[in-house]
Structure formats: C-alpha cells, structure tokens
Amino acid sequence: MAKFKSHILICGGTGCQSSNSEAILNNLERELATKGLIEDVQVIRTGCFGFCEKGPIVNVLPDNTFYVEVKPDDAQEIIDEHIIKGRRVNRLLYVNPENEEHVPDSKHMGFYKKQLRIALRNCGLVDPENIEESIAHDAYQALGKVLTEMSQTDAIEIIKKSGLRGRGGGGFPTGLKWEITKNSVSDKKYVVCNADEGDPGAFMDRSILEGDPHSILEAMAICGYCIGADEGLIYIRAEYPLAIKRLKVAIKQAEEYGLLGSDIMGTGFNFKIKLRYGAGAFVCGEETALIHSMEGKRGEPTNKPPFPSVSGYLQKPTNVNNVETFANVPAIILKGAEWFSSIGTEKSKGTKVFALAGKINNVGLIEVPMGITLREIIFEIGGGIKGGKKFKAVQTGGPSGGCLTEKHLDTPIDYDNLLQAGSMMGSGGMIVMDEDDCMVSVAKFYLDFIVEESCGKCAPCRIGNKRLNEILSKICDGNGTQEDLERLKNLSNVIKDTSLCGLGQTSPNPVLSTLANFQEEYYEHVHDKKCRAGHCKNLLYYVIDPEACIGCMLCVRNCPVNAITGERKQSHFIHQEICIKCGACMEKCKFDAISLTSEYAMAEH
C-alpha cells in the first residue's frame, strides 16, 4: 500500500453531496494532479461527519484541520496553502460563535466536545466503498473473535451483560432477543436489519449505512452465528439510493474477502446477506409489518404473539434489530461488556445517536452517552436556538413521541425518563422548536402524518386518528370548543389502549403531550381565538394602522367581500366579522399600513 503524507477526508453523505461535495472532491484531485502530489496526498470520500449545518466538510489529516462550508472553488487554496505551504486556510475554519475565534480542529468545537462516538465510530473516518480501510479500523475483527473463540452462548452473554437495548425505539434488551431466537427450534432462521427509517427528521441509520456499512454486515453475521442463522436480510428504504449503493458494494467486497458467504474465515460458518427494499410506508418499521413487506405483501402488522423470534419471515424464527443497535455490537464484542455498561445510566447503557434538527444553530447527527441532559444537547452541542429566539419545546421520538418543554431540560435522557416525561426515545429524532411554533399545529402536523401512514387494518387507528385530526383542524381554524378538548383527550386514550400495533398505540402521543405541556395554548385557540405563535391563519387578524393609512381607498376597492370601510383621506377600518383573510388588502397597500396581529381584541378597535 502506498504511503501518503496527508489525507484529505471529504464528507460524502447525502447532506454534503447535496451541497456539491462531489465537485470539491474532483477539484481537489485535479489540483493534486497538476501539482504532482497524487503520490503524497490521498483524497478520501467518507461518510457523514455529523455537523451537517456547516457542510460540506473537509478534514485534513494528520493535523486534523476541520474546514467547514467549503466551496468547490476553495480546493485550490486548500492545496496551495495547506498542503504545499503548510498554512491553515483560516477563513474556512469554524468560528466559535461565543468569542469569534477560529477553531482549527473538531476536538475543540462545542459541537463535538460532549460527544462519544461508538455507533458512529467510523463515520467520517473511512472510505465506505473500500473494505481495506474498514478492516484497518478493526472491521470484522469482532466476527473473527466470536467465530474462533466463543460459543453462541458466550457471545450472547456478552451482549446481555452489556445492557444494550434496541435503538429503534422500543428499547427491548438486544441480548435477550438473541437468546429467545436462538432457543427457538427450527431448521432455518433469519437475521433482519431494520433500515426502514421512517421517522421524518431522523437520519442516523442512513448515515451509518452510508458511512460504515461493514459494521452492520459484521454485526449481522455475529448475530447469525449466535442465533444459528445462515441468512440475513436488510430491509432498507428505496428513498436511500446512496446507502443502497454502498451496501451493495460492501456486501460484494466482503464476499470477495471471504468475510461473508460460505465457510467464513475457514470456520465452517456460512452467512449471506441480501437486500430487500421498502417502498415508503412508515408502518413497516413495525417488526411484523416489516416481515410481511419482505414477503412481498402489504405491510400490515399482525398481533403478537407469536413474536418474530418464534415465527417471523416465512414463518421461521427471525431476529429483527435496528441499524444503530447492530452498529454497537462489534464494539461491544471487542471492548467487552464492562466497558459498554460503564457508559450511560442504570437502565440505559451506552450511547444514543440523535438527529438534531429544527430551529437550532447546529443541525446535525450527534452521538452522546445516555444520561446527558437536554440542556447539554440543545445549548452546548446544538449551540442554542437559531436567531437568538426563545426555546419552546423539543420533540423526541418522531410521530410516536411527544414534546418536552423547558421543565424537562435538566432531565437525564434515557429510555425510562423519556417515557415518564410523556415522550419516548424513538429512533432518536430531536426537533427543536422556538416561540414561533404553534404547538396545536405541530400536533396536527403529526396527526396528518399518522392519518396518511395508518395502514387501515384496525379501526381505532384508522378512524380514531382521522377524528383526532379533524378536531385539531377545527381548533386551528378557530372553531374549537371546550368539549373538543375533552374529546381529544378521551379519544386519544381509547386509541392508545385499543390499537393493534405500535403505530396506533403511540399515535396520540403528540396530542397528549402537547395537551399536557401546552394546555394554555389550546385554551387560547379555543376561548380567546388566538394563536400566540401567529401560525394559524384563521386566528390572525388584518388591521390598519391609522397613523400610516393615508386613506387612498385602494384596499377598500380591492377587498372582495367589502370588509373595509372608510372615506377618502381618512384612515380605513377592517371589519373582522366580514374579513375572509385573503390578504389582498395587505398586498395592495403601498404604505405598509396593514399588518397581521394575533390579538382579536386589538383588531376590533
């Protein structure tokens, strides 16, 4: 292998690729070629670095310089200044917003300081399309250890002891699941990796598959050995073309190297992995629905038991784990159960990857030890709220989760605490909201999603959520009543108790948690006909500023419903009971005299 003096790592994740990281890579390589440096410097396209807000990201090794928001035209300067003259390009460094100083490497950036990367250990470090790089970073070493030194029970015991719980949302102990599947007697068993990341706003599974596919293949093979399966299936969303491409490359390379296929590492263990594609159905994240989808059917869930570990894919025992869960497995095998269980809280061990998004300064993918507080995540790692606005809520757990507020900021995050606070871990989406977000509308947004994604098999979910959505629409339109608030609560509880699968059982969570935490906002919508965030169109009122209005009659003539009255050269007045809120008056006014207010009382006078 050629020896390079420096390496330039460039993010090839979906986010950075969308901002032209491919062109940067080409320009860097072209510059290196013209300067005759191809032998000395290697450019590597890696997986996601996580700091998506500041992408595209370029990292120069060995001095670990971290360039942010790089443009294709910056390639020449990076080569000329940094590589040839050894001087950092200061203008491309991250600027600490607190003291406006340039931060040369990632270790000293607020975004990375509190992070601990286990599942994401190789993302942004290796070229995912080159198996040798992954092997140089210990890939398949854990598999070798398990195959040559451990019995099935030994390996399962390590996973059990580590305290690893399912990272897809439910939090079921992974080792226990493996053990149950191992104890199911059958001539054929399957390992399934659930990569149907349907939670809008979460992209950790995709980043792991794009950045470090070998860790997943390795973990699936380890699981196969433990439970006695020789076949693995990855159920992945068709919306992730890049992850699919990289998985295909990785599977092919692993087979060529004898790390997948027949007689792996000469131990007689056989394991092959195939891909199955999802086709856009949120409910397919549910185990039984996923299995039906893999069988080529509609992705409708069925009652449990029987659990997939007893009767799953093609009625054979099937172990289903999420991508992030698998990504932890090789690290646990290599470093030991004690190491892993020393991280985190009493009942939630290890780390969790969160996708931080919404009204926050540092959007991105982070991995933090369990037990960290929301305050640390949002204000230290996330850099606080965008535009200096006030923090209002953070939504965790996607459509099945809930909204947490200021009073939860210092709660240590783990599976149980989040449940207790009325939300859930979910897959790890974390959407931050500020004072401009209307919580009733947010609840309605999630209900829209659920209504669209409910498979329709059971009535509580199919009909109940539709009714919930209608009540929320009514409230947002300003027609809600006190009885509607009662109805929301009762209906939510019925849906929770009677739905068939996890989707329905958790679907009212966004409603219940906003009702509990933002009661006053619901009240205002219903009783004061006011949306304090100024989001609900029907609860906004057009008013004319008598000081600014010169009385030109333009708005009076343009109002389609004659809601505006007034004489020439005298300020005009909008009659709220007639106004249909079309906005024509505001568009026509040449003197900026018309504005929107959320206070009905103000508009009346």
């Binding site: 809008p200 999802g278 059917k297």
Partner: protein
C-alpha cells in the same frame, strides 16, 4: 384497447402494451425467479423502467408471479413509492419531514402549487412538472429541502421557487 395474447402464455389480458414492453417485464420477473416474495423488488425495477405502474403492467406481473392482480394492486396502492400515474419530466418533491416543516416547508409547497397551478399528486398539462410530498430525505441540515428529479435544493425560500423552476423551463 386491443386484445393480445401473451407470448408463450395462454392467458388473454386486455392490454395496450407492446410485445417489447411485455418482454421487458417478463425479463424483470424472470430475474427475480418469478418469486411472489420478490413482488416489491419487481415493482421497483418495473417502475424504474416505465416511470409508473399502470393496471396493464400490474396484470402482466401478476400473471408471471402467479398471484392475483388484486394482490399486486393491493401492494402498489399500499406503498407511497409506487405510482399509477406518470410523473412529470421533472418531478418535484417537497420534503414535509418535521425538520423541514418547522423551517417553513408548507410555504414552499404553497408557492410551488401557485406557480405551477397544480395540486399535490398532479402533473402540469405540458407534462413537464409534477408535485409530490415526501417525508425526509435526511438532509435536515439543509431544511427546507426540495428535490427536482435527483437534484437536491437546500434552504429553499418561497422567493427562490421561481428561480428553481426557471432552471427547467
């Protein structure tokens, strides 16, 4: 509509597909061993080839995999990725994931609807553009996000909608 006999098969279906197209679908089914368990993969491949999955195509697939047309139809209509209506030359997908939503994706969607004068799921009369919504492309750092074909546009504002459309006119 003409009635044709499928090659090497006795089944008669009402179709307006050319022999060539049927042959292509047969090839796709064959590449998955005509296994009914591979139905979703077959549908994916077929949609890549034809852009959409009209009833006639579903009939041919059902016949090849030896399952009912109702089963195929049930699957096609269950999953949002499959479409029975041809999309525009430049399909526009607006991300309505939560991250994009809180950063104003609704306003972007409204602007596209207004500019093109079509609703979600429709195609313009000149077949150039169609609008659909999707849930998270995973580029939340660039929210709100719009995709035109394969190209991703990040940090879109209502004001930039016209400029995006102009690129394709």
């Amino acid at each position: 509509m003409t009635v044709q006999t499928l090659p090497e098969n006795k089944l008669e279906v009402k179709i307006k597909l050319s022999d060539e197209k049927i042959e292509k679908i047969n090839e796709i089914c064959e590449s998955f061993d005509n296994d009914p368990g591979e139905l979703i993969n077959v549908l994916h491949e077929t949609q890549v080839t034809y852009g959409y999955l009209p009833a006639e195509v579903q009939e041919v697939i059902a016949h090849n995999l030896n399952i009912s047309v109702a089963h195929v139809y049930g699957v096609v209509t269950f999953y949002s990725f499959f479409t029975m209506v041809p999309k525009g030359e430049h399909p526009i997908s607006i991300c309505l994931g939560t991250a994009c939503y809180v950063r104003g994706a609704e306003k972007i969607l409204d602007e596209f609807k207004k500019e093109l004068n079509i609703k979600v799921g429709e195609t313009t009369a000149d077949k150039k553009f169609s609008i659909s919504c999707l849930r998270c492309v995973g580029a939340c750092g660039l929210a709100p996000v719009v995709m035109v074909g394969e190209k991703v546009y990040g940090r879109v504002s209502p004001d930039s909608v016209r400029a995006i459309l102009d690129e394709y006119k």
